[in-house]
Amino acid sequence: MRYLPLVLANLGRHKRRTFFTIASVALALFLFASLRTVVTTIGAYATWGNVRRLVTANATGIVFPLPLAYANRLRAMPGVEAVSWANWFGGRYGDGKRFFANFAIDPESYLDMYPEVLLPPEQREAFLRERSSAIVGVRLLEVFGWQLGQDVTLQGTIFPGDWTFTIRGVYDVTDPLINDDMLMFHHDLLDERIDRAGIAGWYVLRINDPGGAAAIAKAIDDQFRNSSAPTKTGTEQEFNASFATMWGNVGLLMNTIGLAVVFAILLVTANAVMMSARERIGEVAVLKTIGFSDRTLFALVMLEAGAITLTGAVIGLGGAKLLYRATNFNAAGFLPGFDVTTGTLLGGLAIALVLMLASGLAPALHAARLPVVQALRHVG
């Protein structure tokens, strides 16, 4: 540690070079953290799900509805504690450029089903009472600058016409993976206004024993196998996982780009460390002459490289973590729960260490092995 002033002095000699090199390492690790977080967020969503919730959808495909009459039969299944349902609405607001999810829910049972959705009791009462009302997520309220009590009109794309709802509740979420970017309204209202009444998009069930999930799911699907609308039942996690796979090869794409980014920055750092070392051949010779060991000189170059990459890493990784947290980023509703994980931060630090080794090793070895007499000739 007593060589620290020497390392700092060396770093300070080309202030601009040191700054630019640290900045490029910081940018690279910021980018790395961002790309990784896309992958981890999708991954987290794919494994998320309450073990006591099942989802029943139409076996022919998620776009096909199920009869509303299934609700009672599902409720009567052994092991099923509660049943709720929802229907994708697909309404557009304004010019439709800012997409958000909106669907019709069976209000009371749905809110009971998802304790993760927090609604103040008086707002909950108001929402349940008024059939033409809706609840929206805190984020959505903010995005459009809506107010509690305001009327908002969506244009139906699947269910034609203008649909006006009064915002009676603003919900928050306890789990960041639940979207706070949605609008939900009464299924009754939808059912009343459309030609094809008596349909539900999907059912959510609460079961009493998570261990029995597979058996209950099978029993449900068996019961409806030969009906007009056969079902496909799975845990909430399986349902989410099937959505997550829709992203396709995003993971591969992000990892490939991340690799290219890291490699590009390795080149920049290696070049900078090499340039500094080359300029100081004479000094190294002097240090050796006055008694610095080869090992110390090796360590000095490595420390300098490490100071650059680790400082850059801390700035880049910390910046990513703080930025996404402070701006509450969720990619316009596509990636709720976007947060740089500890694993990503550790991975970034590991990359910084690798950068240090890869960029510092050659110059450090060179410094350590330098023949003094020859090098002293460089000293003017």
Binding site: R16, F30, A59, T60, V261, L267, V268, A270, M275
Partner: protein, 388 residues
Amino acid sequence: MKIPLIYNVRSVFQRPLSTALTSLGVALVVAVFIGTLALANGFRAALTRTGSDANALVLRRGADSELASGLSREAASIIAASPHIAAGSDGRPLVSPEVYVLVPLGRIDDTTKVANVVARGVSQAAWSVRANLRIEQGRRPEAGRAEVCVGRRLLGRFPNTAVGDRLRIAGRDWDVVCHFSARGSAFESEIWGENEQFMPAFRGEVFQSISFRLRDPAAFEDAKRALEGDRRLTVDVQRESAFYVQQSQLLDRILRILAILITSIMAVGAIFGAVNTMYAAVASRAPEIAVLLTLGFRPRSVLASFLAEAAFIAALGGAVGCLLALPVNGIVTSTTNWASFSEVAFSFRVTPGLLLAGLVFAVVMGVIGGFFPAWRAAKLPVIQALRE
């Protein structure tokens, strides 16, 4: 007077390692730039090729996708009788009322991973309405039979898609009787069967869209006005080409923003690298520069000379980047198009224009990175530098 470029080229090769590292850094940025935009290009190309200017697409009014739409048989027969529809060689109108649904298919490598694939029920005329369609193997599905034709891009990605196989959809078995290609368009990611067969199997007595060939493509507005103004109908009429452009917009925009964001952050890093390299170059060649200035070369010439050097290093990197990115051309990938909720397979498209953009981008990075060092070179105090 200008300093000959050969001076810079030779100088660059005096420091081969430093030059190589800087160039490679630029090369990687250019490769990512081209790669990510090739992805966006490929997706957009697949969707825009799907639609034709000569065709019109009818959806229920307000529906923003085929999935959201619904049209009755009555509406279909009113539209089929429109005088704006071209007639086929057999004299019958080139119109196809279509059933459009998404079916979950398990992927071939892991059948528990499911993709939403488009199943499209078409009329016999549909094969002529879409001009680019070609049966690659087998024969068209026959009317009245549970037969399907599978788009070329589904092969090898989903099981039971070979000709002669039986594909299970909506609880029924369908004989795969052909494969078709459609010039790389999104149709190639679809399964086609007869609309009258698909109707009872899926959504019942309702079509999702009606496509027809315009008798006179230039008179599209007339056709649109006539159908949208018809009181018996509540429909929107669009050119098929415009519809597919709109379907591609959401994801295309996301991909492009992502590409620009990633590459601009990378570019800043690469520019910093170029700045470092060029400052070092200027510092180590201070005596040379002083000589040049003493000889009577103008500071402006020195500035231009060093800018050219930086641009040259970057252009080398740009060329390498193009070479690195070239192999992604044609790689098939797939993703869900969130506008239609269906999976679309498409290939990366590296175009000459994109390669050129990559090279220009590289040179711009070099010039930006080289500017301040070159400025310093031009402003070098001559006397002091000569003493070294």
